[in-house]
Structure formats: structure tokens, C-alpha cells
Amino acid sequence: MKNKLLVRLKDAGQSREVTRLIKVKNQELVNLNVDVRHCARHTNSAITIIVIAADQAEVNINALVRIEKEAFNSSAIFKIRTLLVSGSPKITVEPKMEVLNETSKAEHGVATINLNPKALFYAATRGLNATRTRQLLIKSLTKAAKM
């Protein structure tokens, strides 16, 4: 797994959309650095990172989204969705954001969630086994995060 995600938007009108999925289990450790810079006007970025963690795995995400002074009318969206499946995984996220241009928009969102017990129960009543249910829920999370 590449542990760096660099996005440089240097030309006016440039756009970049990235979705990255990180799956970790056992005692795996993943360190990811994300660096997104908007250096020109009318640039857009949409970065989504999905983390699915289980057991004693550890994920550290250090992210910076920066909109420079000259990046007029730019837009940055940065999302991290983390699903803690089982065991005692540890997730550390530092989603930094620096905005120097008042005509631009920036937003970031981080959600660390677990498998919804109600959804698990409902699927079980419809005849799905636990493994299949987990797979479906993970798939839906991945889809939702990409939207």
C-alpha cells in the first residue's frame, strides 16, 4: 500500500477525485499521509478514504488540505469513513485544513462507526448469515462514501 497521497492542483480549472480503500486486520499498521494543495483558481478536489479495520490493526492518517491565497473559487472536499469491524483496532486521524482564500469552499468529515446491530439483526431475520451480512454492510459503506 502506498503510504502517501499527494494532490497538487496547479492549473486553473483542474479537478481531482480520489477514493482509496484501506483494509487492515491482525496486527497490521498503516500510516497514510495525505497532502492536497489548491494552488490555482477554480480547482476542485474530492478525496475519500475508506478504512475497514479489524483485530489489533492500527491506522494513522495525517492529512492536510490547503487552499492557497491565489486559488479563487476553489472547492475541497475531504472525507474519511472508518468501519471498526471487530477486536480492538485503533484509528488516529488528523485531518488538517488551511484556507487562505475567502472565495473558496472547503469541508472535511470524519466518521468512525461500527456495524449497526439493528442492521445485523434485520439481515439475520431475512435469512442472511453473519458473514454475508457483514460483507453487505461493508459494501454499502464503500458505496455511500464514494457518493
Binding site: T82, K96, K105
Partner: protein, 452 residues
């Protein structure tokens, strides 16, 4: 308003263990306090300046006076306050405010509390609201038990500095199951140039009790720096409810470097409301340690960063027990080249199962000279807990501005209305009298902005 006062004693600039002896002598305090101060000074010398946030390298610690005694001592009636000092607080409307809205009031000028009152019925119920000087003498056991346990001396350079030179501040003790209906308030004022104000506040809410504490801060503008390095320690015992509200409106020459922290025990709740409007540089991150099951904490943080201001504020929530819940709402406005930064930490520990935390940061960037940042750190080590964070930066909506101006409002009126609407979720949680003042202040700030 810059009314001059003459102080009884102003310590020579710079610090030394001898100065600590002088302070202890003035305050006639027990030996253990003097020892606590001297240990703290040693820690201060060893600790580095913070490696993050605004540049503090321009603070000249040798050019500050660490103890300024403005009056012979605390009095209990406004008539007994030195008229020169009384005029300052009357100008700020404090005595009227006390009569109408408060259960108790302290006013601090420079290093000392100069006036204090508390309603008799609260005294009868065993509530203690006094200066730290009085507390270390009259309630020594309580102070000794808690002082430095929530914010240790070595927490950071400025907590060590405060521990060495603390003077003034309040001690609040609310016994079991006592509800303090109206807020207790302390008003802080720095009126002398090149001084440091190091008040220390300690609040103990016993099981089942309820209290709301408000602090307000102002200072006139000087050309050289003043330093305000306070420490606030709160212990919210089982089932207690504590609210701590700060309205900080220091002048632009003040470095406001404050450490605030609370321990929240079983099923207790703590609410920080932290409004930062003034000061040149502010670094303040009220922290809540959710130590036992069912503890909850929330933080409402408001920052206005105008020209020359750098407001680095935020908060910390540490979930260390199951079923603990926290909430942070931060709103900031940057204009005229000001910089507002949110810095936060939420840590859900492995044993904090079924806990949750929500953080919401919203920033308004008014012009291209200003900057806004968010620096959150989110750690979740409990697989059945949830943690949510969202942040966005936006500007005043051109459509809304157009609409309001088409209805006859001027540009400053329309923009201040939109800014106030943006801040409304926090303003509605601030006591009404302050909320009205903040509304007025924002109108002035926006009018001033458009005049330039």
C-alpha cells in the same frame, strides 16, 4: 476606557525565587504554597515554549512584572472599593449586573481580588466562593487535596508559570446536592502595562450539585505586551452539573495563554462555553477528562479574529470510561487579516466502549487577507464507539447579502446580520446580558470593517 490606578506594590520586572518569597509574604500563605511555587518555577525554566500554534518567541519574560498589588485587600461592599478602582468596574456595569443576575461576584484587578460578595443563603448552605488567597488559608485541606491534580505543574510552560506566580482567581466549592441557581462570576481586568496576570481558579462540585461560573476579561490597549496565563481546574463529582462560561475581550496587546481542564466523574456533566473576541494571541483548549461511566461534556467555542489577532482555540475530550459522550461545536470568523484556528483532540480509549463524540467546526472567512485553519486529532480505539467530525469553511453568501440589501439594509447591517445568524447557536447559550453585548460588538466590528 483607560482609567489610571495607582498600585500599592509593583514587583520589579523579571522573576526569581526571592519574588516568590515576597508574594508569599504579602499573602501570608502557608509554607506548602511557597514550596509549590518554587517547585513550579524550576519546572517553568525546564519547559520549552509550545512547538505548535502561534509564535510566542516575542514574549519577553524579563520585561514583565509578575505581581502587582492594586489595593490593601478584598472588600465586601462596593462603597469600600477605592473610588479610582471602583470607577473602572462601574464603567463596565459590573455592580448593576451583580445585583440583577448573580449569586456571587469577584472582581480582580491586576494580581489581586479587590471585591467579593456571595448571597447569604448560599453561604448558609455551605457554598464557598472566595479568592484563592483566602482559600489556601481558610480551606487549606480542600485546596491542598485538589490544587495541581487536574492541571499538573509540569503540564506546559505556562501552567508552570501560573503555578509559580498564581495570584487571585476564585475557589468555588459546592457541597452535596446543592444547586446554585444564579451564576457565580469573576471579572478580570489588567490595567497596568507590562504585567502578567496569573489567576488560578479551582471549582469543586460535590455529588449531585449544580453550578454555573462565568468569567469576563478586559484590558485597555497598551503599546507593549501584557501576559495572561491562567489555570482553571474543575472537579465535577458524581451526578453534578457544571457550566463554565468565558467571555474574553482582552485588548490586542495581551497574550492570552490559558490552561483549562476538568475531571468529569460518573454521570456528571460539564459544559464549556468559550468566547474569544479579544487579545493579540490566544492559545486555549479547554479539556474534559471523562473519567467514569456516564460522564458527558460539551464545548461551545466562539472565536472572532480581527486585524492583528491570532485566535488558536479549541478543546480536548478524553473518553476514559464506558458510555461517555462529548460534543464540540466551534464557530469562528476571520476578517481584516485575522487568523482563527481550531485545534482539537478527541481520544476514545479502548476501555471507553459504547461512547460517542461529535465535533463540528464552522468557519467564516470574510476577506482574502485572513486565514482560517482546523487542526483536529481524532483517535478511536474502541470498536463499538462512534466518532464524527465535520468542518467547513465558507464566506458570507452573496445571494443572502443581495437579498438583505434589496430589502433596504446597508452592507454592514446585512453582513453583521449574517454573521450573527452564523454565531447564533453559540450566542443563545451565553447569558443574555453578554449575548446582547456580543451582538452589539459584532455590529461595531462589521461597521468598522466596511468603513475601512
Amino acid at each position: 476606557m483607560n482609567l489610571k490606578t495607582s498600585n500599592i506594590y509593583t514587583a520589579p520586572k523579571g522573576f526569581s525565587p526571592q519574588l516568590i518569597d515576597t508574594i508569599s509574604k504579602f499573602k501570608n500563605e502557608p509554607a506548602w504554597v511557597n514550596d509549590f511555587r518554587k517547585r513550579s518555577l524550576e519546572v517553568f525554566f525546564k519547559k520549552p515554549l509550545p512547538s505548535f500554534g502561534p509564535d510566542l518567541s516575542k514574549i519577553n519574560f524579563d520585561d514583565l512584572s509578575y505581581y502587582v498589588k492594586p489595593s490593601p485587600g478584598e472588600v465586601k461592599k462596593w462603597q469600600d472599593v477605592d473610588p479610582n478602582i471602583g470607577r473602572i468596574f462601574e464603567g463596565l456595569g459590573i455592580p448593576k449586573f451583580e445585583q440583577e443576575y448573580l449569586s456571587g461576584l469577584k472582581t480582580q484587578l491586576e494580581s489581586d481580588i479587590i471585591y467579593g460578595s456571595i448571597q447569604k443563603e448560599l453561604l448558609d448552605k455551605g457554598v464557598i466562593f472566595c479568592s484563592m488567597e483566602e482559600a489556601v488559608k481558610k480551606h487549606s485541606d480542600l485546596v491542598k487535596k485538589y490544587l495541581g491534580t487536574v492541571v499538573p505543574i509540569a503540564d506546559n510552560k505556562f501552567s508552570a508559570l501560573n503555578s509559580a506566580f498564581f495570584s487571585g482567581g476564585s475557589f468555588v466549592y459546592v457541597p452535596n446536592n446543592i444547586v446554585v441557581d444564579k451564576p457565580l462570576q469573576t471579572y478580570f481586568r489588567i490595567n497596568t502595562v507590562n504585567t502578567g496576570q496569573f489567576e488560578r481558579t479551582l471549582i469543586i462540585a460535590e455529588p449531585g450539585s449544580k453550578v454555573h461560573y462565568i468569567e469576563g476579561c478586559t484590558a485597555p490597549n497598551f503599546s507593549s505586551a501584557n501576559l495572561h496565563a491562567a489555570v482553571v481546574e474543575i472537579v465535577a463529582h458524581e451526578n453534578s452539573q457544571v457550566r463554565y462560561t468565558t467571555i474574553q475581550n482582552w485588548s490586542r496587546n495581551v497574550y492570552n495563554l490559558v490552561t483549562k481542564r476538568a475531571q468529569v466523574r460518573r454521570n456528571a456533566s460539564l459544559t464549556w462555553t468559550d468566547a474569544n473576541i479579544g487579545s493579540g494571541i490566544t492559545m486555549k483548549y479547554p479539556a474534559s477528562y471523562l473519567l467514569e461511566e456516564g460522564a458527558t461534556a460539551s464545548l461551545l467555542s466562539l472565536a472572532i479574529a480581527d486585524k492583528g489577532q491570532q485566535i488558536d482555540s479549541g478543546g480536548k475530550m478524553l473518553h476514559l470510561a464506558p458510555n461517555t459522550h462529548s460534543n464540540i461545536l466551534s464557530k469562528s470568523v476571520s476578517l481584516n487579516g485575522g487568523r482563527a484556528s481550531f485545534r482539537g483532540l478527541v481520544n476514545i480509549d479502548q476501555q471507553a466502549s459504547k461512547s460517542s463524540s461529535k465535533i463540528n467546526c464552522q468557519a467564516l472567512l470574510i476577506d482574502n487577507l485572513s486565514q482560517t485553519d482546523t487542526y483536529p486529532k481524532l483517535v478511536n480505539a474502541s470498536f463499538n464507539s462512534s466518532l464524527e467530525h465535520e468542518a467547513y469553511v465558507s464566506r458570507l453568501s452573496a445571494e443572502q447579502m443581495f437579498y438583505l440589501m434589496s430589502r433596504g439594509l446597508s452592507e454592514p447591517e446585512a453582513s453583521s446580520m449574517l454573521v450573527l445568524g452564523f454565531l447564533e447557536p453559540i450566542l443563545k447559550d451565553i447569558p443574555l446580558e453578554y449575548s446582547v453585548e456580543l451582538n452589539r460588538l459584532m455590529e461595531l466590528v462589521m461597521a468598522d470593517y466596511y468603513e475601512k
